[in-house]
């Protein structure tokens, strides 16, 4: 086995055993942070399925919010199990994505324009959630109706370890899908489209079909992430689950980690969440806003100084040191 695989297997084993490692009184908190990292990494991966091909969406909050609210509303009002509700949520989101993506692709809305159209979609969903306050609770948000005790049917568990394993599986599934896309025909086609849409079409690539497929996949996965998050936190709120703020956060994490590599979104998400948590612990309730201020400042610095993401920049640095050495040895 190659060293990379060994390291991967070791990391996986560590993650699998995670909840049983001795962590003292911090256990609940550490598990909570890890679950968040896994779920948001999954969402970041879903975003990067599109983002890496130049479809930079600033509206993934919309898909997240649709997923989270659909499942929550179906459960609260119709007691529909999240297992079915989640599927319904993902299906609804895919349909919405389709409605937006088709004309975008058809009328060649790309680049800045695509980003701003998706941003508008995110705002529409956020505002609709607020406007329909009779069901959704408006900007105050909505709590998931508690089931009686632990319930697999309701996807509600008192023990965080259950959520931990569930999100670990979700995260792995996300990685697997990312990997499959990376190895597929779609990747070659999408890269060609990202480079030059007209040229791609002229060699027989069905531009619209590929773009829509990728968008639907990304949106559906994001909705599933929203469902998972809603079930875990059991509270939904338009500002944390829709709109420009959360959309930007997802993109930040992914770009920070590097959107062209399998683990990039995870690395970026883990870092931003860990950073946010750290700052929150440091400042506590004393200086409200200070943690976020530093977070914003660091994000600007990261983007300026590590433009290709942490993963990508590390790779560049390694390449710079390794390549001349190889050339030199080649000459000898």
């Amino acid at each position: 086995m190659r060293p990379g695989r060994v390291a991967g297997a070791a990391l996986l084993a560590l993650l699998a055993l995670g909840p049983f490692l001795p962590m003292g009184g911090m256990r609940q908190y550490i598990l909570h942070v890890l679950i968040q990292i896994l779920i948001w990494s999954f969402i970041g991966g879903a975003w990067s399925v599109m983002g890496r091909f130049g479809l930079v969406s600033l509206g993934h909050g919309a898909f997240l919010g649709l997923g989270a609210y659909t499942v929550t509303l179906l459960w609260n009002f119709y007691s529909l199990t999240p297992w079915i509700g989640g599927v319904a949520a993902a299906a609804l989101t895919v349909v919405v994505a389709l409605v937006v993506a088709y004309p975008c692709s058809r009328f060649q809305v790309v680049g800045h324009y695509f980003a701003l159209v998706t941003l508008a979609v995110g705002e529409v969903v956020r505002l609709l959630i607020i406007a329909e306050r009779n069901w959704t609770g408006g900007s105050l948000g909505l709590s998931l109706k508690p089931a009686t005790g632990d319930s697999l049917l309701a996807m509600q568990f008192a023990d965080k370890r259950v959520f931990y394993y569930a999100s670990l599986v979700l995260w792995l599934a996300g990685l697997w899908i990312w990997y499959r896309v990376d190895r597929s025909m779609a990747r070659a086609a999408m890269e060609a489209i990202g480079e030059d849409e007209t040229a791609a079409a002229s060699v027989g690539i069905h531009v619209t079909r590929f773009k829509m497929g990728i968008t639907m996949l990304s949106a559906g996965l994001t909705a599933v992430g929203g469902v998972a998050y809603a079930q875990y936190i059991s509270y939904v709120n338009p500002d944390t689950l829709a709109g420009i703020g959360v959309s930007l956060r997802i993109v930040f994490a992914v770009v920070l980690g590097g959107m062209y590599s399998l683990l990039g979104p995870t690395v970026g998400t883990a870092l931003t969440i860990a950073l946010g948590e750290y700052l929150r612990v440091v400042f506590g309730l004393r200086f409200i806003g200070m943690a976020e201020t530093i977070y914003g400042l660091l994000l600007i610095l990261f983007i300026i100084f590590l433009p290709s993401g942490i993963y990508g920049s590390l790779r560049d640095v390694v390449a710079r040191f390794v390549r001349p050495a190889r050339l030199a040895s080649g000459v000898r």
Binding site: L248, V251, G296, L299
Partner: protein, 288 residues
């Protein structure tokens, strides 16, 4: 059925709102047209200027016009600062990174404002009368803000048409490299543009604080709308942005009266999305 007088009042209020929106959109669009970067945090700069006017007027008792003038100066300074510290290092980088760098500024300004000034809404109250015109109630404050925005936009128009540097700004937005061949340092043109765009944010801040209360998330409320107006008008197209401001403000204002405030915005955004498909180059663009 809604009394037609309410609709008329909403339409007039829409025009008044459109004036201030146009000021915002023109400032952002000017920068976009020249520097080719969308400042996601543009309206957050406005928010900072609103706080400045609030504190100068309500806490230190300055006259409003003087506070407004200082707000314009602060806006210009912020514009320059953003360009120098954030934009310059990322010029020519991937568009995602450009969006995110100014997006980071958005987080920074929002949370720093929360830290400094809490999330309380702060208002500058002007003791100006409400006018009654043919059964409609119109705020005198809004009329003044509208008039000042119009004058400012006229000033911008003259600046861009009549001065050397103004014409150079328009030329750079059409062909950056050709303008360098004319002897214009692109960096210098960017500075002037960012300062002018920032000054317009400062002025908009002074005009907005007398109509709306300010809070750290003010930028989140008006920001997306402002980008959409710019895109709807055609990125970099000043006349288009001007027209689009009034289209959007009418939809919001009338939609707000007929259905609800949020639905007014929802309809405006949906119109934006649909227009993007129908006329991707902006409402004034020629087809094809």
């Amino acid at each position: 059925m809604i009394d037609p007088i309410f609709l008329l009042e909403a339409a007039v209020n829409g025009v008044l709102l459109g004036g201030v929106l146009a000021l915002l959109a023109l400032g952002l669009n000017l920068i976009f047209g020249v520097v080719d970067i969308v400042w996601i945090a543009y309206v957050d700069l406005v928010m900072v200027c609103m706080y400045l006017v609030y504190f100068l007027v309500m806490v230190y008792g300055w006259p409003l016009w003087l506070a407004g003038a200082l707000s314009v100066a602060l806006g210009a300074l912020l514009g320059l600062g953003v360009h120098l510290l954030i934009i310059t290092p990322i010029l020519g980088k991937a568009p995602v990174n450009q969006l995110l760098a100014t997006g980071g500024l958005l987080f920074f300004l929002q949370s720093f404002a929360t830290f400094l000034w809490t999330t309380d809404h702060k208002t500058v109250r002007l003791a100006l009368p409400i006018l009654e015109v043919g059964g409609m109630f119109l705020s005198f404050t809004r009329l003044i803000a509208f008039a000042i925005s119009l004058v400012a936009m006229l000033g911008l128009w003259v600046f861009l048409r009549r001065t050397y540097i103004g014409t150079a700004i328009r030329a750079v937005s059409q062909d950056r490299e050709a303008m360098a061949l004319m002897g214009a340092d692109p960096q210098r043109v960017y500075f002037v543009t960012s300062a002018v765009g920032g000054a317009m944010a400062g002025l908009a801040g002074a005009l907005l604080i007398i109509q709306y209360s300010v809070h750290p998330f003010f930028g989140a409320a008006f920001g997306p709308l402002t980008f959409m107006i710019c895109v709807l008008g055609g990125l970099g197209n000043m006349v288009g942005a001007f027209v689009a401001s009034f289209v959007m403000s009418e939809i919001i204002s009338i939609g707000g009266v007929v259905i609800s405030t949020e639905m007014g915005y929802v309809i405006a955004f949906v119109v934006f999305i649909v227009m993007m498909f129908a006329r991707p180059g902006g409402i004034l663009a020629r087809r094809g």
